[in-house]
Amino acid sequence: MTDNAKKIKSEKKTGSTISRRQFTTGVAAAGAVASVGPWYIKNARAADPLKVGVLLPRSGGQAQIGIDCQRGADAALPILKNLGYPEMKFMLADFETKVDIARTQTAKLIDEGAQIIVGAFDSGATMAAAQVCEQRNIPLVVNIAAVPKLTGMGLQWVFRNFPHGPMIVKDAFINQKALFSMTGHTPKTVTLMHVNDTFGSSLAGALFKLAPKFKMPYKIVEKISYDPYGRDLSAEVRKAKASGGEALWVVSRLNDAIMMTKEMVKQRFEPMGIMSTGPGWYDQEYMKATGKFGDDVISLVPWHDSNKPLSKTLEAYFAKHHPNRQVNPNHTYTFEGIMIAADAYKRAGSNNAKALQAALRTTNITNNVTTAERIAFDKTGQNPHVKNSAVQNRGGKNLVILPKSAAVAKPNWPMRPWRKRG
C-alpha cells in the first residue's frame, strides 16, 4: 500500500479533516478509482469503498458529544467488516457546532465526492445538511436528531434511525407512568427547562401538545427556556426552584447539564427528581464533572439492548478500546448509521446516488444494537420502530431501569438529597 493510502487510513483513526487536495492526491496516488473519471466506471464498481461523509460537531460547544459519536463510527469499521459488509472510507467534517457551517461543510463533502452523508447529532445542523443533501441528491442518514420537521417536510433523501420529538415524548410519558407506579411517588407538578435551540424548542413543543392526550398525572407549572450560548444558569435554576414544580424535566446539552447541576446544588434546589429527554445527562463527561451529584438523574432516551448479539460485540469492542467508557446512544446510533449506509451499499451493488436511495428505502436490518426491533424506513424516511428506555446514573454508570424487560436495577425515585450523598 502506498504511503498516501496509509496516511489516509491513519487519518481516519485520528479523525482529521481531509481536504480536497489531500483526498484527491491520496486517492490518485493509491491508484483507486479517483473522483475524476467517467461516471459509468465509478457507478459500476461496487467493490470500491463507499465514501461516507461523517458530519459531526467536533469543536465548539458540542465537541465532546461529536467526538463521542465518532467513537461509534470508528467502532463500526472493523465490526462491520467482520460481518461481511463492504468497505467504507470516512470523510470527516466538523461543523463547529454552528448551523451555518453545517451547510457549507455538507456542500464541501459532496463536492469532494461523498456518496452518502451520516450525521449530524444537532437538530439545527442536520436540518441544514438535509436541505443541501436534498438539493444535491445525496442520501443523508441521520444518526441523532430529534426535530420532527426533518421527516415531515417531504424530503426524499433523508433517512432517520432515531426517534423524533413526539416519539421521545410519547415514550417518556409511558415510562414516567411506569416509574411513578413502581415507586409509588407521583409528582403533582413539573417544571420544564429547555435549551432554546431547534432541538429544545421542538421537544418542548411536542411535550405541551401531547401531555393532555396522555392524561399525565401532573401539571406543567413553568416552562423555562434558556440561551444555548449563555454564560451561567443561576437565574434559570432560581426560576425553576421558585416555580414550585415538584419534579424537573430538562431538555439540554452536555455543558448546560453540568452547569445546571452545579447551580442546583449551590442553590439547594432539590426536586423529587430530574428527568431528561436529550443528551448530556447520561454522558461520561457529565458524570465525571459532577461526581456524586450526577447520580439519580433519569434519562428518557433511546438506548441499546444489551442482550442482542451485536450489542455484545460492540460492548466488547469498547471494553477493549475505551475501557473507561460505557456504550451510550452517541455510540450506538452513530454505529447503526454507518451500518445502514453499508447495508444499503451492499444491496444496491453500486454507489450511484439513486441506487443507494432505492436501497435505503427497502432497508430491513434486524441484527442491530438498539432497542428497535428492526431498522426500516417508512414513506417519510423515519424508522417507526425506534423505542425509548429509561436510564439512571448510578456511581458513574448508566443503569437501564425501564422497560422492565431490560431493567438491570430498581430506580432511585425520589432522588437522594444533595447533602445526603456519599
Partner: protein
C-alpha cells in the same frame, strides 16, 4: 413572585455585577485616557482566563491566587501593545482603529484556539458546589462571593492608585488635558502605554476572577466585549465609579429580567437599556458630558 426568590436573584446579580464592573473598569480606564475603543477587550480578558486555567491545571492554583501573575503578564502585554502598535493608529479615523483592534481580537482568539482547542473548559475547584447560608432564606454561592470580594478589592486598589498616586494623577492629567499635560512635561506616550498596561492588567485579574464562575473557551470574548461596552456607556465612559455602578446595575437587571421574563431574553434587556441610555443620556449615569 416570592420575596426571597427576588432577594436571592438580586444578591446573585449584585455579586456577578461586581465582577462585570471589574472587567468594565479595564475598558473605562483605556477609553477615558487614551480615547481608544478597545474592541479586543473580551479577548484580553479571555487570555487572563486561560492563564488562570493553566495555573490551575498545572499547579493546582486557585484562580484568585493567579491574579498577581496574570495581571503582571498582561500589563507587559498591554504596555507593549500600546507603545508599538496602537499608538500608530491613534490619529486615524474611528473605523481604522476599530479594524486594527478587531484584527487583533481575531488573532488572540485564534491563538487561543490553536493552543487550547475550541471546547469549553471549566475548573472544578473544591468549593464549586458550595454555598453560604445567610439566615434561613438567603443562599450565597461561595465561588461567586469570593469572586465578588476579589473584584471589589482590585477595583479599590485601582481607584486608589488613580486618586492618590503620583503616576495615577499624571495619567488623569493626560486624560483631562492632553496639551496641558505635554506642556507641563509629562511624557504622554509613556503614560498612555502605562494606562493600556493597567487596563490590560485589570482584565487579566477580571479573567482570573471570572474563571470561578463560568467555563472558558476562545469564542467567549465577543459577548464580554459587548457587555463591557454596555456597562461603560450606561455607567459613563471615563468614569471609573461609573463602570462599577454600571456593572452592578447590569448584573442586577439581568438577574431580574431572567426571573420576571424568560431567561433567554435577559441580554435583550441589557441592549434595550443601552439604546435608551445612548439616546437619552449618552454620557451615562456618572460620566461627564462627552460627545
Amino acid at each position: 413572585m416570592d420575596f426571597w426568590t427576588l432577594a436571592n436573584a438580586l444578591a446573585t446579580g449584585l455579586l456577578t455585577g461586581l465582577v462585570y464592573g471589574l472587567s468594565a473598569l479595564g475598558l473605562s480606564v483605556i477609553f477615558g485616557v487614551i480615547r481608544i475603543v478597545n474592541f479586543a477587550h473580551g479577548e484580553i480578558m479571555v487570555m487572563g482566563m486561560f492563564f488562570a486555567l493553566i495555573m490551575f491545571r498545572w499547579l493546582g492554583l486557585d484562580p484568585l491566587l493567579s491574579i498577581p501573575l496574570a495581571a503582571a503578564i498582561l500589563f507587559v502585554f498591554g504596555y507593549f501593545l500600546q507603545s508599538t502598535v496602537i499608538s500608530r493608529v491613534a490619529h486615524l479615523p474611528d473605523h481604522m482603529q476599530f479594524l486594527l483592534l478587531a484584527a487583533l481580537a481575531v488573532m488572540i482568539v485564534n491563538a487561543c484556539l490553536l493552543i487550547f482547542g475550541p471546547d469549553p473548559q471549566a475548573i472544578n475547584i473544591s468549593y464549586s458546589f458550595d454555598s453560604f447560608d445567610i439566615g434561613e432564606n438567603l443562599i450565597i454561592d461561595k465561588s461567586r462571593a469570593y469572586a465578588a470580594i476579589a473584584a471589589v478589592a482590585i477595583s479599590g486598589l485601582l481607584l486608589g492608585f488613580f486618586k492618590y498616586s503620583r503616576t495615577g494623577k499624571a495619567i488623569r492629567a493626560c486624560a483631562d488635558n492632553y496639551l496641558g499635560a505635554q506642556v507641563v512635561g509629562l511624557k504622554v506616550s509613556h503614560l498612555y502605554a502605562l494606562t493600556f498596561g493597567i487596563g490590560a492588567a485589570v482584565l487579566g485579574a477580571a479573567g482570573c476572577v471570572l474563571l470561578l464562575l463560568i467555563e472558558v473557551h476562545p469564542y467567549l470574548a465577543p459577548g464580554y466585549t459587548l457587555l463591557a461596552f454596555v456597562i461603560v456607556i450606561i455607567g459613563g465612559l471615563g468614569s471609573m465609579t461609573g463602570a462599577l455602578v454600571g456593572g452592578i446595575l447590569i448584573g442586577m437587571s439581568e438577574a431580574l429580567a431572567a426571573i420576571i421574563f424568560q431567561p433567554s431574553m435577559k441580554s435583550a434587556f441589557s441592549f434595550g437599556l443601552l439604546i435608551l441610555v445612548l439616546l437619552l443620556r449618552p454620557q451615562g449615569l456618572m460620566g461627564k458630558s462627552v460627545k
